[in-house]
Amino acid sequence: MITMREAFGNALVELAGKRSDFVVLDADVAGGTGTHIFREAFPERFIQCGIAEQNMFSAAAGIASTGIIPIVTCYAVFASMRAVEQARNSIAYPRFNVKIAASHLGLDVGPDGATHQSLEDISIYRSIPEFRVISPADPLELQAALPVILDTEGPVYLRTGRSPIPEVYDCKDDFTIGRADVLREGEDLCIMAVGVMVHRALEAAGILQREGISCRVVNMSSLKPVDNALIEESARKTGAIVTAEDHNILGGLGGAVSEVLVSSCPVPVEMVGIRDRFGESGDTEELATRYGIGVSDIVNSAKKVLGRKNG
């Protein structure tokens, strides 16, 4: 398995060979985000900004104003909290063509602990006008999304990730902002997942299938805009939804899906996510179990939502 950060670094290098319109900004975490691979291949297009994210974000807007696309990279806690006001007032409000690429998402960060585990970034960036929020499920999708993001004028918040991740796609050539992907068809309920939770959702669907429960699984990599039509269609078709995210249950994917459903097709929804608390150090899979975002948690939520649907 390739790590998401390696996939990100490789994708940047491949793209840089094809187009000269972007540069990469780093806040002294190139090894962590995967941009060290890009730095080695294209040193003249790599800008070291030091451990100074606020200056980096506002300077990125300035660079964008001269016609270059800056891809600003750092960890999600800093991208979404330390420098979020710069993202809002320097990038989004004046509408500059800046792409923020954040690694280190959720409990997936593991042993470094709660300071570095971003559990809030989806809800934060979702609420800033102009920003699109994209969170690929595996290396292939990340690779497919990157050129589309560069071709889309305006601010984008891309969640790249960090760890090795099982491949969700065999091949993935196209990516459309605002469209969700049905990865598995099913009738009884629909699991809508994002990021590292997508492969867990597929695993959960397999377990449920053996118990006679048929699940549709949808990859919700476009968090804003969300695929309103597919959310609504999934609700009509299955009558029950489980959302799954390595993120606080407040304001994240669960919120985004529910916001669509309440006004179009209210069906029972169960949310798998971190229940409004901070994480801790530990192995990623152990943390997932402890904090309620493991495969078994998705299975249990599926059964619970089915009970509500039929009850």
Partner: protein
Amino acid sequence: MFEDLVSAARQMRKDIIEMNCLAGSGHPGGSLSAVEIICYLYNRELKVDPANPQHPDRDRFILSKGHSCLALYAALAQKNFFSKEEYARLRHVGGMLQGHPDRLKTPGVEFNSGSLSQGFSFAIGTALGAKMQDKTFRTYVLVGDGELNEGQIWEGMMFAVHHQLDNMVAIVDYNKLQSDDYCENVTALEPLMDKFRSFGWYTIEIDGHSFHDICCAFDRARKIKKRPSIILAHTIKGKGVSFMENAPKWHGSLAPEAHEREQALRECECEELQS
């Protein structure tokens, strides 16, 4: 040799008072202290074209102390970036002139400043973008003294020197007052010149109301290579209106009463170049 600028600055001051009264709010004190600096920039220094405000090779002026936009609006209107008729809708719904600058609404405005220190970093970005593309335009950024409280300023100070941004000039409107109180009472700034010097900037100290001083400072800055320049411009908050000068209450956001307006306009009309 600066007669035309003296006259232009006098008109800018009157426009600032008029705008302030029409809006019923705004920040007159820090706008009046920045008049000569902004007036000089738009009349002598900047290569900008009102007919093509987005020209890719234009010089950039960023008003990082965005609350002082009355002075910027006065200069832009004078240069015909927009009509003075817009003054009447300043700070009102649907107007092109926002309470803080908005580049998408107002021709000639480079950046949506107002959240302090972000304009400074933005300017660093435009200067770096120019270097990366071998473009020769220059970047000028006007920073407030209270704004120097922000940590982001000092992040940028290090970055600009590290990247040898000799195509940018920062000017500090050092009127010694910020929102609540005198700067030295809020968080002491001095010794400022030593701080700038120790960060590696080329430093110049001037009287920010003297066109002669401003002219010499920009000429010197243009000759400096391999590092950015910073001009510490000593100014008077509320300059030109006696009851506003050095008076903390006129930072903002308020406007003169009718009788105060008359006095302010009269005094601006008589304002003479001091050196």
